[in-house]
C-alpha cells in the first residue's frame, strides 16, 4: 500500500507539471495545444544534448531547456496562434493549427535529434528502500521533489507577481482584462511562453529517468488533456489535482487490477469516461460551453 501511494505521488507530480503548462495555455487562449507533448520532448532532447552529450551541469542543461522552449513558445504564439485566433470564425479552428505545429515539431525532432531512444546518466545513484515497504530510487525522489518545488514556485509566481496577476485576469475575462489596461497581446505571448517553458522543464527533468524519444510527444499531449479534464479545464489548481489523481488512479488501478491482465487499462479508461460523464466540469472547473 505504501508503495502504491509513493508511486502515485511520484507519477502525480510529473503529470501535474505536464498538465500545468497545458491548462495555462488553455485558460489564456482557449487553445487545446496538441503540440504540448512535442514541446516536452524537445525539452528532454535539449537537456540530453547539454547534459548527456556536452557533459554540462544538469541544472544548466535544465535552464537551456526552459530557455529554448520559452523562446519557441513565444515565437509560436506571436506568429502562428495570435494571427489565427484573431481571424478565425470559430475558436476551435486553432486545434488544426495546434495539430499542424505538432506535426512540424515532430518532423524537426526527427531531423535534428534522430529516431533513437535517448537517455542520460543517473543524476544520483542508489535506491531508497524502507524495509521493502517503499522502494524508490533516489533520483526519482529528487525529481519528484524538484517537480513539486517547481509547481510551488509557479503558483507563487501566478499569485504574487505582477505578470502572474495579469495572466490570471486574462484567463478570467479577456475583455475585462483589456479594459483594465492589460496588454492582451503581450500577456498572451508571455503566457504561452510560460506554458511552453513548463513543458520544457518537465521534459528536462524526466529525461534523467525515462529518457526521451520522438514518439513520446503525441501520447503525452493526450495524457495531459485527460488530467486537465479530470481537474477542470483552464483551472490551475485543477491541473495539479488532475495530475495527482491520474497518477494515483494509474498506481492504484495497476496494483488492484493487475490480476485481470489485459483489461486493466480498459477498466481505467472506462472509469475515466464514467467520471467525466458524471462530473463534466471536472473536479475544480466551471461548466464551459
Amino acid at each position: 500500500m505504501e508503495q502504491v501511494v509513493a508511486n502515485g505521488i511520484y507519477l502525480g507530480s510529473q503529470y501535474a507539471m505536464i498538465a500545468l503548462g497545458l491548462t495555462l495555455i488553455f485558460a489564456l487562449m482557449n487553445v487545446l495545444n496538441f503540440a504540448h507533448g512535442q514541446m516536452y520532448v524537445i525539452g528532454g532532447f535539449v537537456t540530453y544534448t547539454f547534459y548527456g552529450q556536452f557533459q554540462m551541469p544538469f541544472l544548466l542543461a535544465l535552464l537551456m531547456s526552459c530557455l529554448t522552449l520559452t523562446v519557441l513558445g513565444a515565437l509560436i504564439e506571436k506568429f502562428l496562434f495570435g494571427p489565427v485566433i484573431r481571424r478565425s470564425a470559430r475558436e476551435e479552428s486553432t486545434m488544426l493549427l495546434a495539430a499542424g505545429i505538432a506535426f512540424l515539431l515532430d518532423a524537426i525532432i526527427l531531423l535534428v535529434f534522430g529516431e533513437k531512444q535517448r537517455g542520460v546518466p543517473k543524476i544520483v545513484d542508489g535506491v531508497f528502500n524502507w524495509d521493502f515497504r517503499i522502494i524508490m530510487p533516489y533520483d526519482r525522489i529528487l525529481i519528484c521533489a524538484l517537480a513539486i518545488l517547481s509547481i510551488v514556485a509557479f503558483i507563487t509566481f501566478m499569485q504574487f507577481s505582477r505578470t502572474g496577476r495579469a495572466l490570471r485576469a486574462l484567463a478570467q475575462d479577456r475583455d475585462a482584462a483589456q479594459l483594465m489596461g492589460v496588454n492582451v497581446n503581450r500577456y498572451s505571448m508571455i503566457g504561452f511562453a510560460l506554458g511552453a517553458m513548463l513543458a520544457g522543464l518537465v521534459g528536462g527533468l524526466l529525461v534523467t529517468i525515462t529518457g526521451v524519444n520522438l514518439g513520446m510527444g503525441g501520447p503525452t499531449s493526450i495524457k495531459a488533456f485527460l488530467m486537465v479534464m479530470i481537474g477542470g479545464a483552464g483551472v490551475i489548481s485543477g491541473a495539479i489535482v488532475g495530475g495527482f489523481i491520474l497518477g494515483m488512479l494509474e498506481a492504484v488501478g495497476l496494483a488492484v487490477l493487475s490480476q485481470y491482465g489485459d483489461i486493466t487499462y480498459l477498466v481505467i479508461f472506462v472509469a475515466l469516461m464514467i467520471f467525466l460523464t458524471i462530473r463534466p466540469q471536472g473536479l475544480m472547473g466551471k461548466p464551459w460551453g
Binding site: N7, K116, R118, P137, S258, Q259
Partner: protein
C-alpha cells in the same frame, strides 16, 4: 498583397515538392527495390534502421560498380515509403511500389500492416519481406510474404531452453505492451515456455506503450519472483526503462527479449543495470562478424552518423533478394521464378565468419520456405556492448 505573397510561397513549395528527387546514377540500368515501413512517429526506429541498412548496402554496391544479375550489372535504387505505422497507408505504399514496377519490397514492420498489404502484393506480383510474426502470412495459401527475421516463437524456445539448462531457470514471467504485436508474441512465448516445462508465474500484466514510469506496472510482476522476466515484443525505447525499473525494484533474476535491441540505447538509458540483458541480434558481435559485416557497420556509421544494432538483422533482406535474383535472373520480373528458386537457393553468408549459409527456411513453422535464414544470434549485454551468448539456426 501579403496574401498573394503567401500563395506564391505555397505554390513554390508545392512545385518543389513535385520535382522527382531522382539521383543521378551511373550508366548501369537501375534495379529498384522497395521499402514500405514506418520511418516517422513513435516506432520510427524500426523502419529507419531498415531503410538505412538498405540504403547503405545499395550505395556500397553502386560504388563498386553495381550488382551483377545474369549478364547485366544493375545499380540498386531503394524506393522508400513511410506508412506511419498505419495499415491504410501501408496499402497505399504497396500500391506505390506496384506503380513503380517494383517486385521486391522489404517491410512492413508490424502485424497489421503486413496483413493489410497482402491483397495488393498478391494481386500485383510483389514478394515482400515483413518483420511481422503471424503465421497466417507465411503459410499457404499465402505465398508472397517472406519473414525477414527470426520469429519469437522460434527464438523464444531456443533462449528458454538455454536458460533452463545453463542457468537453472524454473519460473518465468511475461510482460507486454497492450498492442497486437507484443501481445501475440507474449502468447506464443508463453506456449513455448510451458512446452519446455517452465512455470509461468505471471503472464497477463500489460502496459500502455506511452508509459513513462514502469514501477507500478512491474511491481506485481516482480512480487511473483520469477527466475526469468521476458519483455515480449519490447520496443528499443521501452526496454531500458523496463530493465531499469525492474532492477531498481530489487529484481535479481534474468531479463530477456526476443526482439533486436540497440547497445547504444541500452548503454545510455539503463547503463550497468542492463548487464546480463539477453536479446536477439544479427551478426555484428566481434566473435562472429565477418569483415564484410564490419565494413557494412563502418559504412552505415559514416553515412548516417550513428550505427543502430537493430540493423544487424535488417541488412539481410536486401542481400537475400539480390542473391536470389543473381541465382535466377529470370526472377527479376517474375516472382513465380523467384518462389521456385527459393526452394533450392543456398549461398555462403557473407556477413558471418565460418561456413554459415544464406537459404530460405520455415518448413517446420510454415510448411513452406518463406523465411530468410538469419543467424539466430542470442546476445547478452555486458558493460555497454553485446556479447554473443550462443548461435542457433532456424529450420
Amino acid at each position: 498583397m501579403k496574401r498573394r505573397n503567401l500563395f506564391t510561397t505555397m505554390a513554390a513549395a508545392l512545385a518543389l515538392a513535385t520535382v522527382p528527387a531522382t539521383a543521378a546514377l551511373a550508366d548501369n540500368p537501375v534495379l529498384k527495390i522497395g521499402f514500405v515501413g514506418v520511418t516517422s512517429g513513435p516506432a520510427a526506429a524500426w523502419g529507419i534502421s531498415n531503410q538505412r541498412s538498405m540504403e547503405t548496402r545499395a550505395a556500397w554496391l553502386n560504388e563498386i560498380g553495381g550488382y551483377k544479375i545474369g549478364d547485366v550489372t544493375y545499380d540498386i535504387e531503394i524506393v522508400s515509403f513511410d506508412d506511419q505505422k498505419d495499415p491504410k497507408r501501408a496499402i497505399a505504399g504497396m500500391e506505390k511500389m506496384a506503380q513503380e514496377g517494383i517486385h521486391y519490397v522489404v517491410g512492413p514492420n508490424v502485424d497489421d500492416g503486413a496483413a493489410a498489404v497482402r491483397p495488393v502484393a498478391e494481386a500485383n506480383g510483389i514478394i515482400y519481406f515483413p518483420y511481422a510474426f503471424p503465421k497466417a502470412l507465411y503459410t499457404a495459401p499465402a505465398s508472397n510474404a517472406v519473414l525477414g527475421m527470426v520469429a519469437n516463437y522460434q527464438s523464444g524456445p531456443a533462449i528458454y531452453k538455454y536458460l533452463k539448462e545453463e542457468k537453472g531457470v524454473k519460473t518465468v514471467a511475461f510482460i507486454a505492451a497492450n498492442e497486437s504485436d507484443p501481445l501475440s508474441q507474449r502468447d506464443s512465448g508463453l506456449v513455448a515456455a510451458e512446452a519446455l516445462g517452465l512455470e509461468a508465474v505471471s503472464a497477463n500484466v500489460t502496459y500502455q506503450v506511452d508509459t513513462t514510469d514502469f514501477t507500478p506496472v512491474l511491481t506485481p510482476v516482480i512480487r511473483t519472483r520469477p527466475d526469468l522476466l521476458v519483455l515480449s515484443g519490447v520496443t528499443p525505447a521501452n526496454a531500458p526503462q523496463l530493465i531499469r525499473s525492474a532492477r531498481e525494484l530489487g529484481f535479481q533474476g534474468l531479463i530477456s527479449t526476443e526482439t533486436a535491441q540497440d547497445a547504444q540505447v541500452l548503454r545510455e538509458s539503463a547503463g550497468d543495470l542492463a548487464n546480463g540483458f539477453i536479446s536477439v541480434g544479427g551478426a555484428s558481435t566481434p566473435e562472429i562478424a565477418s569483415d564484410m559485416m564490419k565494413e557494412f557497420v563502418a559504412r552505415y556509421t559514416e553515412m548516417f552518423g550513428e550505427y543502430n544494432d537493430e540493423s544487424n538483422t535488417k541488412v539481410y533482406a536486401l542481400e537475400y533478394i539480390l542473391a536470389t535474383l543473381a541465382e535466377n535472373p529470370a526472377a527479376i520480373n517474375d516472382v513465380e521464378a523467384f518462389k521456385q528458386t527459393m526452394d533450392t537457393f543456398e549461398v555462403p553468408n557473407p556477413y558471418m565468419k565460418g561456413d554459415a549459409v544464406m537459404r530460405y527456411v520455415g518448413m517446420s513453422s510454415f510448411g513452406q520456405r518463406r523465411q530468410v535464414a538469419v543467424p539466430l544470434v542470442v546476445n547478452v549485454f555486458q558493460d555497454g556492448e553485446f556479447e554473443t551468448l550462443f548461435v542457433a539456426e532456424v529450420d
